[in-house]
């Protein structure tokens, strides 16, 4: 992307659960407007990296910088402010089951904006329309299908017009058509809103369809093997494991 601007930077990030090292020495840069893929084999710490980036888990060492501002080294209050610019779609949608879809989307609006109840409902309806769920405002999460839950979760993630959208395995558990539609939706939103998107996935079709930047985590060496454009990594990366992963185990 031209006149690319670093939006998120990870510096010497090490993650661990207690004494158990997950990944070390992670360094990568995500530019504004990127669709950034975090990929790697099962159990390599993709979701943990995401948790560190959205403030759910503290890194062992290193830091993540948002617009050059350190995230973990800042005060709690500053971190809360930074977090307000995030939208997160969890693996299962993680919709609050005691609330309707409109209430799910409206909760953050109620908290952080001065909007009235009627206006909040209108915004919620609009967000649901964006994800193709017009008319589902008064449904409870257990009344809709898995794909619809993900879409509703996306609508909730977009409630506060975030600068950065995080996705944890968006296409897991979706049929190929729904997965494709979700990919299209992510791209469409990126184009129209200019949001930076960070996705954890190992779905190759999605990686090549929407990703323009990525990091590859390796569970054996416990560090990143590559970072950059996934298509270039597939075709030209010197490391066999990276090519092999991206070519579905058929690398020469």
């Amino acid at each position: 992307m031209e006149n690319a601007q670093a939006h998120i930077t990870a510096e010497d990030l090490t993650m661990a659960y207690g004494d158990f090292l997950i990944q070390k020495d992670l360094n990568f840069t995500i530019n504004r407007g990127d669709v950034f893929i975090i990929m790697g084999g099962s159990g390599c710490g993709k979701s943990t990296l995401l948790k560190i980036m959205i403030g759910l888990k503290t890194p062992a060492t290193g830091d993540v910088f948002y617009d050059k501002e350190p995230f973990w080294a800042s005060s709690d209050a500053e971190r809360e402010l930074t977090k307000r610019k995030f939208g997160t779609l969890f693996q299962s949608g993680a919709l609050w089951s005691s609330m309707t879809l409109a209430e799910n989307i409206g909760l953050a609006l109620e908290q952080y904006t001065g909007l009235g109840a009627a206006e909040i409902r209108e915004v919620a309806a609009y967000k649901l329309m964006l994800v193709g769920l017009a008319g589902f405002e008064d449904y409870y999460p257990n009344e809709i299908s898995g794909g619809m839950k993900k879409r509703a979760g996306l609508a909730r993630a977009m409630a506060l017009d975030p600068d950065i959208l995080f996705f944890d395995e968006p296409s897991a558990g979706l049929d190929p058509i729904s997965a494709k539609l979700l990919d299209d939706l992510i791209l469409e939103l990126r184009e129209s809103l200019g949001t930076t998107v960070v996705i954890v996935t190992h779905e190759l079709a999605s990686i090549f369809a929407i990703g323009n930047n990525s990091v590859f985590l390796d569970p054996v060496t416990k560090t990143q093997l590559a970072t950059g454009n996934p298509v270039e990594m597939r075709d030209h990366h010197p490391n066999f494991d990276v090519r092999n992963f991206l070519q579905r185990g058929e690398a020469a």
Partner: protein, 376 residues
């Protein structure tokens, strides 16, 4: 169906020919491969093993299981396997089973821990959970401050829902239990006090016991089983479902949102339930007293009114508030500490109930001693 059979043919020093015949099915009797395997371990072992399956009938996992045992035995003893005599399907399955080598260190080794080691681990985990409970309590106190100042984020509709669940919906069970407890107390009282000709004091016994102690304890235990368990399961499921994480990422404090409203619901409803439970208990006692003693309703009520002082009532109400807090804290704390599986939700629910009941009984003893010393 013909019986499975395995025949060993030593065709010279080099090769051992195994002839398979009959139907090799999992639910039928099959020959043991041990004979073959021990043959492979002998000093005069063959160089290779071959198979003849011309007379083999039907086969399933029963055959492949035996083959794998033989192949493993052969590998261990450095004997070659010539699988070409096997049916194609079985050849492929055996090849597939050995296609990926066992990952080094993947197999779990179960080691018996020494007593000291186990003791140490238990102490450490006990300390860790104690620290967790303290952290939780601290967060809860801060959150209660925000709640009272109106700065906490929570849904009014959720709060009223909790109040209804912990209050109105508990009425039937509280009625039944307290009514029966009152009757039991009255039975015991009548039987014993009649011996001294002091049967009328049954009214005192029932009223004081219900108002001071029993109603609060019974309501507490009912709430531990009903509401404490529900809190743990609700919050635990939200945890498993990443719903708690979703709150955190939106900058909302999960304690404010999930725990404090639940705690306050029990703080508000427990005294009401306790008063109601006392009434039900006295009612039960009255029925027994009237039917077994030679007193009138007016006499019994008069005796009851004389026996209960305001101190007893307030003492009982204070206890009920304490029990309510303990039950809510046990339920919510276990829910928030829940692990990441369906199994963990069940465990945290059980723990919440056990912890709730233990805390109630322990605090009841402590409070009773304090009351006696204060002369209440």
């Amino acid at each position: 169906m013909t019986k499975a059979a395995l025949q060993l043919n030593d065709s010279g020093q080099d090769s051992l020919l195994l002839s398979l015949s009959g139907d090799w099915l999992l639910d039928a009797e099959r020959p043991d491969p041990d004979e073959v395997i021990s043959r492979l371990g002998q000093a005069s072992k063959p160089k290779s093993v071959a198979f003849n399956s011309e007379d083999l009938g039907e086969w399933d996992t029963g055959l492949v299981k035996t083959l794998i045992a033989i192949v493993q035995g052969a590998h261990e003893n450095g004997v070659d396997i010539d699988a070409s005599g096997l049916p194609t399907g079985a050849q492929r399955l055996v090849a597939l089973a050995f296609a990926v080598e066992e990952r080094e260190g993947a197999r779990r080794v179960f080691r018996k821990e020494s007593f000291l080691e186990e003791l140490g681990k238990n102490v450490m985990s006990g300390l860790a959970s104690g620290r967790e409970l303290l952290t939780f309590t601290g967060e809860l106190v801060l959150s209660c401050g925000r709640f009272l100042r109106g700065k906490a984020t929570y849904l009014r509709s959720d709060a009223t829902q909790y109040i209804q669940e912990a209050g109105a919906e508990a009425f039937p069970i509280v009625s039944l239990i307290c009514f029966l407890i009152g009757m039991i107390f009255a039975f015991v009282g009548v039987m014993q006090l009649k011996l001294f000709g002091a049967g009328i004091y049954t009214a005192d016994l029932v009223a004081v016991a219900m108002v001071r102690e029993m109603s609060a304890i019974m309501c507490g235990i009912i709430m531990a089983g009903r509401t404490g368990a529900a809190y743990a399961a609700q919050i635990g499921t939200m945890k498993v479902n990443e719903e708690v994480d979703a709150l955190t990422t939106l900058g909302m404090n999960p304690t404010d949102f999930l725990v404090t409203p639940r705690v306050f619901a029990l703080i508000v409803m427990m005294p009401l339930l306790t008063v109601y439970g006392s009434l039900m208990g006295i009612l039960g006692g009255t029925l027994v007293g009237l039917s077994m003693l030679d007193v009138t309703l007016v006499q019994y009520i008069e005796q009851t009114l004389q026996s209960v002082h305001l101190n007893s009532l307030f003492g009982g109400l204070f206890k009920s508030v304490v029990y309510g807090i303990l039950v809510a804290v046990a339920g919510c704390q276990q829910g928030m500490a829940c692990g990441n599986s369906a199994l963990a939700v069940g465990q945290c629910t059980t723990k919440a109930v056990v912890m709730g009941i233990v805390l109630i009984v322990v605090s009841a003893s402590i409070l009773t001693v304090i009351y006696i010393n204060l002369g209440i």
